[in-house]
């Protein structure tokens, strides 16, 4: 089993990369647009549910790097978002039964919406900082423009989580990462 774990991590990277690429294509070139669910986050939530605690951070990092390959968001913002998400999930695992479907669906929805707002905040603040003194749309305008995409992504991510969570964890190659239950 131990020998297959590196391969399983590699498979997680492959699946995450493919899912992120498909998600990027859906956002940009399908009628779904910003209604596209955050599939990468759903994959992470699905994995976290079956991973050992010590593996959660590594899984978050891999999914974050996959996302970084298909986004113009700055690397520190993406890494911070996934780091914060994994810390929040770890805390939640201590407080509640993580296998409860509603909790995991809520995490998918809340995390996806929060990610959209977080990236909008980062983008707006960086623009404000870069163009100090020059007229620009402003922070509130940027955040309000991101509100509808955030709500839409949260809603569809929740719904997609409801359907996909159990399936994504059974993707080929990920079995060695799962926690033993006996």
């Amino acid at each position: 089993m131990r020998r297959t774990r590196p391969l399983a991590w590699l498979m997680l990277a492959v699946w995450a990369s493919w899912i992120c690429a498909a998600q990027a294509l859906c956002v940009a070139r399908s009628p779904l647009g910003f209604w596209t669910p955050d599939l990468a986050l759903i994959l992470l939530v699905a994995c976290i549910g079956s991973l050992h605690r010590r593996d959660v951070l590594a899984a978050s990092l891999i999914v974050a790097m996959a996302r970084l390959a298909y986004t113009v968001e700055p690397a520190p913002a993406v890494l911070a978002a996934f780091l914060a998400f994994s810390v929040a999930v770890q805390l939640l695992r201590r407080l509640a039964e993580f296998s409860h479907p509603l909790l995991r669906v809520g995490l998918c929805a809340g995390g996806a919406g929060a990610f959209v707002l977080w990236f909008a905040l980062v983008h707006a603040l960086r623009m404000e900082r870069m163009l100090e003194g020059a007229p620009h749309p402003g922070l509130s305008a940027s955040l309000s423009a991101a509100l509808l995409p955030a709500c839409a992504t949260a809603l569809t991510s929740g719904l997609a989580g409801l359907v996909l969570l159990d399936g994504l964890v059974r993707l080929p190659g990920l079995t060695p990462l799962r926690r033993r239950r006996w």
Partner: protein, 443 residues
């Protein structure tokens, strides 16, 4: 905190640490193959459209050549205007421009610089010589907005002399007025008035406009305290593109050239996007498999023929992030080409901000520091906006002038306005994208 307040060295370090991200992108290669490399059949209508755009670009070039020339005023007898184009603002200095001049051999220290009928500043030859990285045709120009800049001035009726320079401590951009002969004077146009042959050749710009006097109360709680400033007739922050350096009659005659080539100067490299999508919904970006080591720099333009496709947001070591035209927050220096009964007219829009895309249109925020005020014939028919073709302007590093953005109607009157830009047909799927490459010392 690092995400919100970027620290340059740490971000560069992250570029190294995140080199495996390139591998992640390669993992999705099968998906990119499924998209296929699109081969665009060059049908007759597309070719005709591209030819038309190229012709209009040439028209814009011709119009730009006359853009910096005075309209109401005339150059003094024997004075020659040497054409210069703003290339960028170096290192975040708001009061200094880097300009490319037509003929560097005739440049002297402190020669005055104008744009249209307005005074801009003077050539800073010392600063230029101190910067060894600069190409020989690049010069620094100190703007009249600089804190230590001073120029002699007088109201246009000749009644009140004063010194102008720097910014007045008022909310909006107002040029500072110092030691006016009549402190109670608070209206009228102010023009340059320098004594001849004292400290450079500032007198060559005598009569050129500095702005209009305006008295304001900086502090509402102290109504008796008022400050007089000048409302400038130029957008010094983002609206300077084409300039004239005034040469004295005894200077050698400059060689005429300055058609800065855009298409075939070898500073473009063809690129393609591995995945034509962006994962964050409101954003419109693409990863680009070229980075700083291949000559890509932050802010560089991406073009498809004569059209602007986007700009490089962040150039990593081997890969870059590109913001496309619909990316919210994307800044674009822009000009509007207006077709009036008198002929082509250029209106400087300054920096536009993308607010997002709606299908084939992009919403742009136009601060309208220089609003469209002239009542053209089209507005006389009761219309409050004028159709215009929008092009990029110069003034930002690696963003060349004369790249097509699209068509929009420009609202008349003070801003800010939101423009609805209609992109040219086929703009959503560019075929031959190229990126502007940076070179050492060459903005």
């Amino acid at each position: 905190m690092l995400a919100l307040r970027p620290v340059e060295p740490l971000e560069r370090g992250l570029d190294w640490l995140l080199l495996p991200v390139r591998g992640m992108e390669a993992l999705a290669a099968p998906l990119a193959w499924l998209q296929g490399r699109r081969v665009h059949a060059a049908d007759e209508s597309t070719l005709a459209l591209r030819r038309e755009e190229a012709l209009e670009q040439a028209e814009l070039e011709d119009a730009l050549r006359f853009m910096a020339r005075p309209e109401e005023l005339a150059l003094p007898a024997g004075v020659v205007g040497l054409r210069a184009e703003v290339v960028q603002r170096p290192g975040g200095h708001l009061d200094r421009l880097l300009v490319r001049v037509e003929d560097p051999s005739v440049i002297e220290q402190d020669l005055p610089v104008i744009s249209g009928d307005s005074y801009v500043g003077r050539v800073d030859l010392d600063a230029t010589r101190r910067d060894a990285r600069l190409a020989p045709d690049l010069y620094y120009v100190e703007l009249v907005t600089g804190a230590e800049f001073r120029v002699g001035a007088v109201t246009d009726d000749g009644a009140c002399r004063m010194v102008v320079g720097g910014l007045a401590p008022l909310g909006d951009v107002r040029l500072g007025v110092h030691n006016p002969e009549d402190p109670s004077r608070s209206e009228g146009r102010v023009v340059v008035s320098e004594p001849p042959l004292v400290e450079g050749r500032g007198d060559l710009a005598n009569g050129f406009h500095l702005g209009r006097l305006l008295a304001e109360q900086p502090d509402p709680s102290a109504p008796r305290r008022r400050l007089v400033g000048l409302v400038p007739e130029l957008d010094y922050a983002t609206g300077l593109h084409q300039l004239l350096v005034l040469l004295p009659p005894d200077a050698p005659r400059p060689k005429r050239r300055l058609r800065i080539p855009l298409e075939h100067d070898g500073h473009w490299a063809p690129v393609h996007f591995a995945v034509r999508g962006e994962i964050s919904p409101p954003r419109e970006g693409r990863p680009l498999a070229r980075g700083r080591l291949q000559g890509v720099r932050d802010g560089a333009a991406l073009a498809d023929g004569t059209r602007l496709v986007g700009r490089v947001l962040h150039a990593g070591l081997f890969e870059s992030s590109v913001a496309l035209l619909g990316d919210p927050g994307l800044p674009i220096p822009a000009l509007a080409l207006l077709r009036t009964p008198e002929g082509l007219r250029i209106h400087v829009l300054g920096r536009l901000w993308c607010l997002g895309r709606d299908g084939n249109t992009v919403r742009l925020l136009w601060p309208a520091v220089l609003p469209l005020e002239t009542p053209l014939e089209t507005t006389a028919q009761g219309e409050d906006s004028i159709p215009a073709r929008i092009w990029t302007g110069s003034g930002e590093a690696l963003m060349p002038r004369g790249l097509l953005l699209g068509d929009a109607r420009l609202p008349v009157g003070p801003g800010p306005h939101v423009l609805t830009l209609t992109l040219p047909p086929g703009a959503e799927d560019p075929a031959g994208v190229r990126v502007r490459l940076g070179q050492e010392g060459q903005p």
